[in-house]
């Protein structure tokens, strides 16, 4: 039981990390390019973002997994697909604020190419708020992953993913309530931990605190 819980942590948290690794750079890239290029690019990219944003996350993920084969990989792909739009929005908002500043104008006057400006000068400034947002979001990614597992669309039952564990143990909830409760608690604790981490990071990374 305990070892299943720990081992399940590896799967659930592994899924979360995989999602984040996919999502954060994608959102950052889309947002920064849209924000900096402006005009037609901005409109195009933001409409695409809006389309993804308009679907409820779990349902889109469900549909996507159902279309593919249920399993960890497709669950990760599905969650990633639905998780990037908020980051794109955030990065775009930050970029719009930065685009008009004098220090970016100064880099343009050095003759730097737009690619270089976005990559070396704008993206690093968007990063802190993005990181904070990601850690705060991790809990909801855990929940989505667990939700998919619970519905049988993520990791498959014999493998000890937390959501799937709850699903299989649901039958004993009256006689042996601790069996499904343990993974539930694990989900809760992990989510809380990421939220606290996010809060802490926000304090550390907040540019106004300056070091």
């Amino acid at each position: 039981m305990y070892s299943r819980l720990l081992y399940g942590g590896r799967i659930t948290l592994g899924m979360v990390v995989a999602v984040v690794v996919l999502v954060a750079p994608l959102g950052l890239a889309v947002g920064c390019v849209a924000g900096y290029a402006g005009g037609i690019w901005d409109r195009l990219l933001m409409r695409v973002t809006d389309i993804f944003l308009a679907f409820p996350r779990l349902i889109l993920a469900l549909a996507f997994v159902a279309a593919l084969r249920p399993g960890v990989t497709s669950a990760v792909a599905a969650i990633a697909l639905t998780a990037w739009p908020p980051y794109a929005r955030l990065a775009r908002a930050e970029t719009l604020g930065l685009r008009g500043t004098d220090f970016i104008a100064a880099v343009r006057l050095c003759g730097a190419t737009p690619g270089r400006i976005v990559l070396r000068h704008i993206a690093p400034l968007c990063l802190p708020s993005l990181i904070v947002r990601v850690t705060l979001d991790m809990s909801s990614i855990i929940l989505t992953a667990a939700g998919l597992g619970f519905l049988g669309m993520g990791a498959q039952p014999p493998s000890p993913e937390w959501g799937a564990m709850i699903a299989t143990a649901r039958r004993f909830i009256l006689e042996q309530w601790w069996v499904p409760t343990a993974p539930g608690l694990a989900i809760f604790v992990a989510s809380l931990a990421f939220n606290l981490l996010g809060d802490g990071l926000r304090d550390v990374l907040d540019p106004k605190q300056g070091v």
């Binding site: 500043t101 004098d102 220090f103 104008a105 100064a106 880099v107 343009r108 006057l109 050095c110 003759g111 730097a112 270089r116 000068h121 690093p124 400034l125 540019p207 300056g210």
Partner: protein
């Protein structure tokens, strides 16, 4: 060197520069003064290519400038911004800021160039690895000037280079700008609201009001009070009035 002819700049439906013309010879310096919000910074930004929404003609050394500027242009023309708090990247050290133009233009010998630029603007060596928020306003502005000089331009566009500085640093920066001009034959287009600063550095002065260049006169004429436009006269009168309070005994002491 700089030639601007019938320049108009608009932001959306709002035209803020209504067709101004000016010319600065090689090695010369032209000062723009005038009402706040009259479009002085906008002219500099249009010339440097930061604002593509203009009509009219602008030339650099006889060559017509288009909407887009190439890298060679940025080697020849550099700008110093009005606000030293806003013109340095908050997360980059002085070293990084000064390196940027060198990397972009692929110049060799970066260490030596940076060290020389810092000593040119009279900054101590140890500011090289500091962040902007660890510098005072005056030091930041000198970093901005050093950055503009990195790629060895021929033309400097200076937007209020000293208005954020205290008077003792202002004197140092003005002396520095004058030395650089003598040593390297730079051409200046300088914006300031301080008539005394402009008259000190520039031989020809243009006065702006509400998007128009209402008067162009020589520094000597301005000093002597040979002005034609009422706005120029008003600016001059207020400046002289302030100066007189402190002038006599200071000159005696």
């Amino acid at each position: 060197m700089i030639d601007i002819d019938g320049l108009r700049v608009r932001f959306g439906a709002n035209e803020v520069v209504h067709g101004i013309s000016l010319a600065v010879p090689r090695g010369g310096s032209f000062g723009l003064v005038g009402e706040s919000g009259s479009g002085k910074s906008t002219i500099l930004r249009a010339y440097s290519g930061l604002n593509p929404e203009w009509t009219g003609a602008m030339r650099l050394d006889g060559a017509e400038l288009g909407r887009r500027r190439d890298r060679a242009f940025f080697r020849r023309v550099q700008m110093v911004f009005q606000d030293p708090y806003g013109s340095l990247h908050p997360r980059q050290t002085v070293d990084r800021a000064l390196n940027e133009p060198l990397i972009v233009h692929g110049l060799e010998d970066r260490d030596a160039r940076i060290a020389r630029a810092l000593s040119d603007v009279a900054l101590p060596r140890n500011v090289r690895f500091r962040y902007p928020h660890q510098l005072s306003g005056g030091q930041r502005q000198r970093v901005a000037i050093a950055r503009a000089l990195m790629a060895e331009p021929d033309v400097l566009l200076l937007d209020e280079p000293t208005s954020a500085l205290d008077v003792s640093v202002q004197a140092e920066v003005l002396n520095l700008l004058r030395d650089l001009q003598e040593r390297r034959g730079l051409t200046y287009l300088l914006v300031s609201h301080n008539l005394a600063v402009v008259a000190h550095l520039c031989s020809v002065i243009g006065v702006m009001q509400g998007g128009d260049l209402v008067e162009t006169l020589s520094a000597a004429d301005l000093r002597a009070g040979r002005v034609r436009h009422p706005h120029t006269a008003e600016l001059r009168a207020l400046t002289v009035e302030l100066e007189e309070d402190t002038a006599q005994p200071a000159a005696a002491g």
